[in-house]
Symmetry: C2
Subunit: 372 residues, 2 copies
Amino acid sequence: MGMVDSTIHTMTCFTDAPLELESGATLRDITLAYQTHGALNEAKDNVVLVCHPLTGTAHVAGLSDPNNPKSAGWWDQVIGSGKAINTDTHFVICINSLGSCKGSTGPCDINPDTQKPFGLEFPVITIGDMVRAQKAVLDHLGIQQIKMVIGGSMGGMQALEWVCMFPDMVRSCVPIAATGQVSPQTIAFDAVGRQAIRGDSDFHDGRYQEHNTTPHHGLGLARMIGHITYLSESSMSQKFGRKLQEKNDLSYGMDQDFQIESYLQYQGDKFVSRFDANSYLYLTKAVSYFDLPKKYGSLEKAFSPSNARFLVISISSDWLYTPEQSKIVARQLMRLNKEVTYVDVDTHYGHDAFLIDNPDLFRLINVFLESL
Amino acid sequence: MGMVDSTIHTMTCFTDAPLELESGATLRDITLAYQTHGALNEAKDNVVLVCHPLTGTAHVAGLSDPNNPKSAGWWDQVIGSGKAINTDTHFVICINSLGSCKGSTGPCDINPDTQKPFGLEFPVITIGDMVRAQKAVLDHLGIQQIKMVIGGSMGGMQALEWVCMFPDMVRSCVPIAATGQVSPQTIAFDAVGRQAIRGDSDFHDGRYQEHNTTPHHGLGLARMIGHITYLSESSMSQKFGRKLQEKNDLSYGMDQDFQIESYLQYQGDKFVSRFDANSYLYLTKAVSYFDLPKKYGSLEKAFSPSNARFLVISISSDWLYTPEQSKIVARQLMRLNKEVTYVDVDTHYGHDAFLIDNPDLFRLINVFLESL
């Protein structure tokens, strides 16, 4: 019990031998930021690895500022003493993704070869590379077995990649609102977002740090596009409808009229202040590349070596990573006689539903974890 | 029979009294571009008014260059001798929308008050204002009755607005892939598109003509966003899937890898060369404002005065103006005991399906028109 410690730890790895990336490039002296909750038991078999979505951080639970309830980690509702992922009995670890800008090595860090920020000289990374980096943290902590790897969206892709890359290490896997192969529609939205960033006159071909600028406009646009895909038509209609923003009537001008417009603007502005544009390019590129059938020959071959138990979860109103995409994963696992449960969580909220308070979803996770 | 004449006519109206816009502003000396096909009969009761979608033109049928089959009008498959809308017996008219940049008065034209391009001094217009401008063309041609008003997307909104504004003039109405009230999700996509344009450093607050620039980047982005919404996940998967563009393997670089990326880029680039950024702002704003229940008190009140026959058509895979939105229109018409047929055309193509060769859709329109 007691207060959850929300320290962010860092470690540096791949100092002797560099990380060999799936592209064939290498990356050395990698720093990884991570947070842990609960205690690792003596058998080291109570590990829950939580993988964050695209722009998430290692700060998964607890308050980073004890006096500020708004400083809670991004999945604080799920992780803690007595919560769905119970830290009284589990050791939870969340690692900031390679390529991100929240403590782990990414394109805004200094390239040891040039002593300048990487910018677009950072190598393109994949979901598999992220998983390999995560494994280095587990190695560092002496962890050889994962009781459950869980994540939503990009985190769900990592969870699936874990069972494919390290089948002997993973006892159970919970991909939420994810896919085994990113669809062309998702590629399309991400491509437009990247184009918005790269075409911003403040982008300077990725060297904006040296120009003391940031491509605010492009990054904000990318986030606004993304944010639309994280909601659903129905949730937007219920939450905003055609309500006007602080007006009694249409302005008949070119400024914003509707609440949905200022909401998106707010989301874009908020994001720009907390996230790096180059990281956004690299992380969305990794997502676009995610394709288990291509990497392993087929989805069947990808999952064959695994002995994990699976809980595959989709969100009924998710049109970014549709229930159909989760079903393809679940169906393949069933055909392979894996232990798999597939649940489509019925909510109108859209893709991001796994990030909000959702007792049904949390109970599902809890029951699954406690049954292991 | 014989060759379809594809001359674009222009007329100037509102020279004596200005057009009173729904905003309360006025606009005078309005030029409107239109095209006609077939002959107006003596009774002047064989008029089919075709309303174009967002970025369409008056050039609806025939070849603008007799030697170039690619110069066909945007609905040439539908309109002509012996076609679904048969010009042997019907007089077809299509008018470039007020606010557009294809011959009718819009923001890139000269403001008679300042002798400079309007830019953002152009008044915000509505779908109702567009309809009122169209009526001026019909008045000019001595037309008092419309046999059928038909259009897809923004054109469908105009078709619906026609029966609400001028119920005595319209004998039948065919809105395709349209809505009676634009949803917050569509508002959201359009708002991001407008933001992309207005944040482009070449936009110069709408005065880019005087700076000899064009906001290519922003307008291209807006079109790319729009284009995603005109297709469907399924059509993208069938047409593009995860196929690479002129490559054998992923580039592991920041440039485009997938066909869907270069396709969208191509669509954006092509659009920039043919359309004006300010017009795009005004037309999408008009769409965002479209809300028959708000304007008339309710959808019931909006449609009550009409005696038209309706053929309401939705596209099964349309997620921009969903079948559900068409059903709301059809349901209200049924409740009012109007003569209404509702058809959901089953195709995976997405919103833009009405613009491609679709024999089922064209037959529907033909049978409806010939039955009048």
